[in-house]
Every structure is written in structure tokens, then in C-alpha cells.
């Protein structure tokens, strides 16, 4: 427990010391909010309460989803090896980073929601708090898988592969336009990605429909995704251990 707190605290100090990356990893969804939001709002497709949840998932992908980038350097400079030679459990080594990524995401998400309010978003406070909780769960899975990928694929491939992967995943989630508009084939493909369920769950929360099946699915899929991510991530941190 103290090891986890020490790790998370350390990583948080590093992250919040680097304001540039804090802003940069939230820049895309923020730009969509400001430069695309007003169009979306007038398109008749939906209100801010439909767009902002989508942007939160986009943020998850660009922020927590790219978290693995930091471990590439730790691996290259021997920092990871030095952490692995301590008695700290491998799952703690992973979670120390992941919790940092969740906190960072939470701060970024709150900023986007506040900016959304300034632009005209109206959503019940309980729904917004629930959404922050759900996006945190999602970020655990995203960050864990991001680290797993960073430690598995060739170092120099991580950034290009991940930043390319983020685009289809984001489009398929229906983050920018609801998948109810999609042709059948696209709808089917979209249902094969976990982020579709997260987006719809978040929209249900922003709409205040706390008992809708979409929310149940969003929670179930996000939880399963987090469990899967942490399991794979821990396995990857353990690999090659005696």
C-alpha cells in the first residue's frame, strides 16, 4: 500500500510538473469541443450533452491510451529494470502508473466538462459525477493496455501504431456522431469495440437516465475492460521474472 502510494505520488509529481504534456494529451478533444461542438450543436443531431460524453472517451484514448509512451523511456534508461528488482509486487508497479493516469484523466475530463458548461452544456450533477467515475474505470483498462502494448511491440513503433489506432477506435465508438446514424455494417463493427458501450453509458448519465440498459452495458463493459487490462498488464510486468 505504501509502495503504491509512493509510486503514484511520484508519478503525479512528474506529470503535474510537465504542464505541456498535461495540456497536449487533452488537446484533441478540447479542439473538438470548441471548433466542432458549435457545429454539432446546430446540426440537429444532438445537444452538448450528446457530444461531451463522446469527447470524454476520445480523451480517454488520447490521454490514458497513450500512457505507455512514458514507459518506453523508463525501459530504455533502465528505470523499469531498477523498479523490477525491488520486492514490490508487479501489479503494484503497474497500478502506480495507472492510478496516475486515472487522476490525470480525471482532471482533464473535469476541465472539458467545465468548458462544455461554458459553451452551453446542461447535465445533472449526479450524472456528471457518475460519468467521471465511469471514465476513470475505462482509463484503468486503457492505460494498462497501453503499457502492455508499449512493453510488447518494438519501442520505436509504439507512438506511430498507437496514434494511428486511436483514430478508428474513436470513430467506431460513435464519440463524434451517434452510431444510431450509422449503416448496419458500421453499427455492427462499432459494437465490437468496448468504447461504443462506454460512450453510450456516458450519454445516458449526462441525460440523467440512470436506469437505462445503455448505462448498464457501459458499466459492465468498462469494468470488464479494466479487469482485462490489469490482468494482461500484470502478466506483461511479470514476464521473464524468476
Amino acid at each position: 500500500m505504501t509502495a503504491l502510494a509512493a509510486l503514484t505520488g511520484h508519478y503525479l509529481r512528474v506529470s503535474f510538473g510537465n504542464k505541456f504534456s498535461l495540456v497536449f494529451s487533452a488537446l484533441q478533444p478540447f479542439l473538438y469541443l470548441v471548433l466542432f461542438g458549435p457545429l454539432f450543436q446546430r446540426s440537429g443531431v444532438g445537444s452538448w450533452a450528446v457530444l461531451v460524453p463522446g469527447l470524454l472517451v476520445q480523451l480517454g484514448l488520447t490521454s490514458a491510451g497513450m500512457a505507455g509512451f512514458t514507459i518506453v523511456f523508463d525501459q530504455r534508461f533502465g528505470v523499469l529494470e531498477r523498479l523490477r528488482v525491488t520486492p514490490v509486487s508487479r501489479v503494484t508497479l503497474l497500478l502506480g502508473r495507472v492510478l496516475r493516469d486515472s487522476v490525470v484523466l480525471l482532471v482533464q475530463a473535469a476541465t472539458i466538462i467545465v468548458a462544455g458548461y461554458a459553451l452551453g452544456l446542461r447535465a445533472p450533477i449526479a450524472g456528471v459525477l457518475g460519468a467521471l467515475l465511469l471514465i476513470t474505470v475505462l482509463s484503468v483498462g486503457l492505460a494498462s493496455l497501453s503499457y502492455t502494448a508499449a512493453l510488447t511491440i518494438r519501442q520505436e513503433l509504439f507512438a506511430p501504431v498507437m496514434s494511428t489506432l486511436v483514430v478508428p477506435l474513436m470513430l467506431l465508438s460513435g464519440a463524434l456522431l451517434p452510431m444510431s446514424l450509422a449503416p448496419a455494417w458500421l453499427d455492427v463493427v462499432s459494437r465490437l469495440t468496448p468504447f461504443r458501450y462506454a460512450v453510450e453509458g456516458l450519454r445516458a448519465l449526462f441525460a440523467g437516465s440512470y436506469t437505462s440498459p445503455a448505462l448498464v452495458w457501459g458499466v459492465v463493459v468498462s469494468l470488464a475492460f479494466a479487469v482485462l487490462g490489469v490482468t494482461l498488464g500484470t502478466k506483461r510486468f511479470q514476464r521473464e521474472n524468476a
Binding site: F77, G78, V79, V85, A242
Partner: protein, 247 residues
């Protein structure tokens, strides 16, 4: 302190380590010598729980490598060949974090870091990054990282490679002092044979993943009628060490 039997490691088709037996007693400084690619780092990474042996068994610092790797980790320090610091973070923060991972409180950790840095002639470098440090300073910093939790056994992988002769001598002095003062057992790799001769109680020569000679430097020299460990190396492998030690 270390007892290993039949350790092997294969990476796909590469047999990096081909059956190593070794015993290190408490308080010894043992040198593990061999050319690049001989299997030194691979052996160290197995003994430090970082790499799972393909076969074999070992107890390290009194704990079984397979049954209780966490106990091994608590009792050993490991200084990797490539260092342990990223160039962009303040070294004090990194050292304190590492100490806390061994269970020290924040305050204990900061105290320990301050003392240790002073002992290694690096007082007050906490706020600096390694970018501004010399090779010798960086290596001492790596050693500080390995000593935070007062291990009984310290593994050093090529601690002096790339250093100028003066920094190398300085580093050896530190290692000697740690052994004398704390009874630290040291297992180190190097390909500077004259240094191993001067510093180590015992040396093991490894070539192509196998130990080809072992003993005190004097034993080895008299056994092979050699004047230096370089000549011993030539006698047991038929090659000059330097040829294989390009890096």
C-alpha cells in the same frame, strides 16, 4: 551467499548461458570476467530475479530464486550495466522513490539518500539530473541506488566500463570500503582484467556461456604459469579478451 547449479538461459536459438555452477561466500568480492556476449549480464539478471532461467537452481542471499524471489529482491542490490536513471528527472526524487519501495518512510528515505550520497562523494546532487554529471559520478549514483536498502549482496554489472582510469580507481576504493565497513558481498562483472586482479578475492572466467576458469587471481596465474590475468584468459580461451571486448 550465492549458490547456483546448472543455470542455463536460451533466447530462441541463442544459448546465452550454458550451465553455470557458482558459489560466493559472505564478504567476498568476486569478479565475473569475460568478453562481450559471454553471458555475464544474462547470468546476473537471472541471479537478481529479473530473468527466468531456462533451467537450473540457485539460492541467493539465503533465499531460493524460484520459491521466494521477493526475499531475494529484499536482500540484494543490483546495479545494471546501463544505469538506472532517466536523464530528465532529478536524481534525489528517483532515489527517494526507490528507497520507499523498499519500505522506508518518506523521512527515512530522504535521510538515507542524503547520507549515502555524501558517502559516495556526491553531496547535494539531489536536485540535479544525470545530464550534467560525469561518467564516474553517474556510476556512483547507480551504486547509491543499489545500496539504499542496505543489501547483504551487491551485483555490479560493468561498473567501470567507459570510465577514465582515475574514476575507475576511485570506484574500486568505494567498493573496497563498503566491503570492509559493512561486510558487503560483491559480485561484479568487468572486462578490465588488471582491475579484477587488484580488487577481487576470486575471479570466474566465463566464455560462450560457460565458466572456463575459477580461483583466486594468484591461483589462476600460477596454475597457468601466467604473469597476468590477461595471460590466463589467453591460456584458457585461446583468445585475447580485448578482441571480444570491442565495446
Amino acid at each position: 551467499m550465492i549458490h547456483a547449479r546448472g543455470l542455463t538461459k536460451t533466447f530462441g536459438p541463442v544459448e546465452a548461458v550454458r550451465g553455470i555452477d557458482l558459489d560466493v561466500s559472505p564478504g567476498e568480492i568476486v569478479g565475473f570476467l569475460g568478453p562481450n556476449g559471454a553471458g555475464k549480464t544474462t547470468t546476473l539478471r537471472m541471479l537478481t530475479t529479473l530473468l527466468r532461467p531456462t533451467s537450473g537452481a540457485a539460492t541467493v542471499a539465503g533465499a531460493d530464486l524460484f520459491a521466494d524471489p521477493a526475499a531475494v529482491r529484499r536482500r540484494i542490490g543490483y546495479v545494471a550495466q546501463g544505469g538506472a536513471f532517466a536523464p530528465f528527472s532529478a536524481v534525489g526524487e528517483e532515489l527517494v522513490l526507490q528507497a520507499r519501495l523498499y519500505g522506508l518512510s518518506g523521512e527515512q528515505a530522504r535521510e538515507r539518500v542524503t547520507t549515502l550520497l555524501a558517502e559516495l562523494d556526491l553531496p547535494g546532487v539531489e536536485e540535479r539530473t544525470t545530464v550534467t554529471m560525469s561518467g564516474g559520478q553517474k556510476r556512483r549514483l547507480d551504486i547509491a541506488m543499489g545500496l539504499l536498502h542496505r543489501p547483504e549482496l551487491l551485483f555490479l554489472d560493468e561498473p567501470t566500463t567507459g570510465l577514465d582510469p582515475q574514476s575507475r580507481a576511485n570506484l574500486w576504493d568505494h567498493v573496497r570500503r563498503l566491503r570492509e565497513r559493512d561486510g558487503l558481498t560483491v559480485f561484479l562483472t568487468t572486462h578490465y582484467l588488471e582491475e579484477a586482479d587488484a580488487l577481487c578475492d576470486r575471479v570466474l572466467i566465463i566464455d560462450h556461456g560457460r565458466i572456463v576458469a575459477a580461483g583466486t587471481p594468484d591461483e589462476l596465474k600460477s596454475e597457468h604459469g601466467a604473469r597476468t590475468l590477461d595471460d590466463v584468459f589467453l591460456a584458457v580461451t585461446g583468445r585475447e579478451l580485448r578482441e571480444g571486448a570491442a565495446a
